[in-house]
């Protein structure tokens, strides 16, 4: 029986008749080949997107994605799925907007519904400093040709009637900004859809294959040592998020990265009550309601390094106090599950995409609290970087070298609260 690969309402109906017994595997589980043209370490969104675009844009299909566990269970599988491109600096705006544009066609491109929901993203301002920063950001974003606007209190009230807009609250809301194209997507679907599409183009996805070292000969990469043996490749791209320092250590250099717990939680499912994404850097919380009905919520990182995928409950207490203050009707809504990820934080809150001291070895990391939205864009430019051996123009400013020259891209304002 021929297995069904293509997804559509028709194939779904057809398969319903055969009790869904003929669906093909979304991606294969091949044995590793001895060598590949390129190896991507890390089967999160960034690694998978890189493999996909290597195959799609550069015709490089003899590629392996090497993942120590099952794919998509790192930060990609545990993030709060906020997507937006309203970043302050030109360099950031360029790469995040590329990403958002790619997201806008990704379901069709991958033939996998990633459930992109561009329901609009509101940031709240609570004081004059917030307003100033917001004006600066919104003006810059607009002049970069990206949608963004300031909101009045009345506009906010109309969009989010359940928000506490009392002028006497402790941190009264005095204004806000909106990116209408911002929103959320289904995190797992992004990883799975990319994996399926990359696999379809010939990429080998090697799950349960942990990279344990790099083989480096006179400053050049030769391949990776893994829990399933050595695999050779002239080019290796590493996208392991929170584990970047560990992998850099294997290659003999250090990174300007701290691995921090970032926590999130979901409520029990509720009927639709809240139809945008809302964030407040001042009271430290952001939230949205998923298509399944849970309120998905996050805040800032814990204050210490950790690889535990878990943080301290005091963050939750503060996060939920902020949530109840902003949304008094959520007081009796219940937290259902709470977890953490390991985010890779750079000193300037911007990523590192590009070359390393080892020739042929490239790193893509430092996306910290905000790299889900960057997945397609980052994969696109990182694939280019790997294929050409030189950074894509959008990736160039995000070189590791900037920490030496001082040309940092300070996006702290953008991530005062994680998202």
């Amino acid at each position: 029986m021929k297995k069904n690969k293509r997804y559509s309402i028709f194939s779904l109906a057809r398969n319903a008749r055969s009790y869904h017994e003929n669906w093909a595997e979304a991606w294969r589980s091949p044995e590793p080949k001895p060598s590949y043209d390129a190896i991507i370490v890390g089967g999160g969104g960034h690694g998978l997107a890189t493999a996909y675009y290597l195959a799609k844009e550069h015709g490089i299909t003899n590629v392996a994605v090497v993942e120590k566990g099952p794919i998509g269970l790192g930060n990609t599988g545990r993030n709060t799925t906020v997507i937006r491109s309203n970043y302050l600096w030109d360099e950031s705006a360029a790469i995040y907007e590329l990403s958002l544009k790619l997201y806008e066609g990704l379901s069709q491109d991958l033939n996998f519904n990633i459930m992109l929901s561009q329901r609009g993203l509101i940031s709240l301002a609570h004081n004059q400093h917030d307003m100033r920063e917001m004006e600066r950001r919104v003006n810059a974003i607009r002049l970069n040709g990206i949608d963004s606007e300031m909101l009045t209190l009345d506009q906010i009230r109309e969009m989010v009637p359940i928000l506490n807009l009392s002028p006497t609250s402790r941190y009264p809301v005095i204004g806000g900004s909106l990116q209408r194209r911002g929103g959320i997507a289904r995190h797992d679907a992004v990883a799975w859809g990319l994996a399926r599409a990359a696999d379809d183009r010939g990429v080998d996805i090697l799950q349960h294959t942990e990279v344990t070292g790099f083989r480096i000969q006179s400053g050049r990469i030769e391949g990776v040592e893994t829990s399933r043996g050595f695999i050779a490749a002239p080019k290796v791209g590493v996208a392991v998020a929170g584990h970047s320092s560990v992998l850099a250590g294997m290659a003999g250099f250090r990174m300007p990265i701290q691995s921090r717990p970032l926590q999130a939680l979901v409520s029990e499912p509720l009927k639709p009550i809240f139809n945008t994404v809302l964030m407040s850097a001042t009271v430290h919380v952001y939230l949205s309601q998923s298509d399944r009905g849970e309120l998905v919520m996050g805040a800032g990182t814990d204050g210490y390094n950790s690889y535990a995928q878990r943080g301290s409950p005091m963050i939750l207490e503060d996060m939920l106090a902020a949530a109840v203050e902003l949304f008094p009707i959520f007081s009796r809504v219940k937290m259902m599950r709470q977890w953490g990820g390991i985010v890779d934080i750079c000193p300037d809150a911007s990523p590192i995409v590009g070359k390393t001291p080892i020739s042929g070895l490239f790193f893509n990391c430092g996306w910290g609290t905000g790299g889900f939205k960057a997945i397609p864009g980052s994969g696109f430019v990182f694939a280019h970087t790997l294929a050409q051996g030189e950074p894509h123009e959008f990736a160039a400013p995000f070189s590791l070298d900037r920490f030496t020259t001082g040309a940092l891209i300070d996006e702290h304002g953008a991530s005062g609260v994680a998202h």
Partner: protein
């Protein structure tokens, strides 16, 4: 919520402390002699190990003293607390 044994005040909740990141990073004395890369190494590059990390903590809301801690970044277990200035791994345990 970590419980951190302040060498002066004893075990206290994490809320009273602030973490100062990796310990034992000495400020270069003759910084002019350093290349930009060497200076960047001091400023930004960090070990960030998965496992035991020597880091600095300050009992901010308590005695305001800085001290060193060896903590496992996977289990969050605190293995050792020792004064500023004392080298890693050596000295008396706590």
């Amino acid at each position: 919520m970590l419980q951190i044994p302040c060498p002066h005040c004893g075990p206290r909740d994490e809320v009273e402390f602030s973490c100062g990141g990796e310990a034992h990073i000495a400020r270069p004395k003759e910084s002019d002699a350093l290349s930009d890369a060497e200076w960047a190494d001091y400023l930004f590059m960090r070990a960030n190990p998965k496992g035991v990390l020597a880091e600095r903590w300050c009992h901010t809301l308590g005695c305001r003293r800085w001290f060193n801690v060896e903590r496992d970044t996977v289990s969050h277990e605190i293995l050792r607390v020792y004064p500023m200035g004392e080298p890693r791994g050596g000295g008396s345990g706590a």
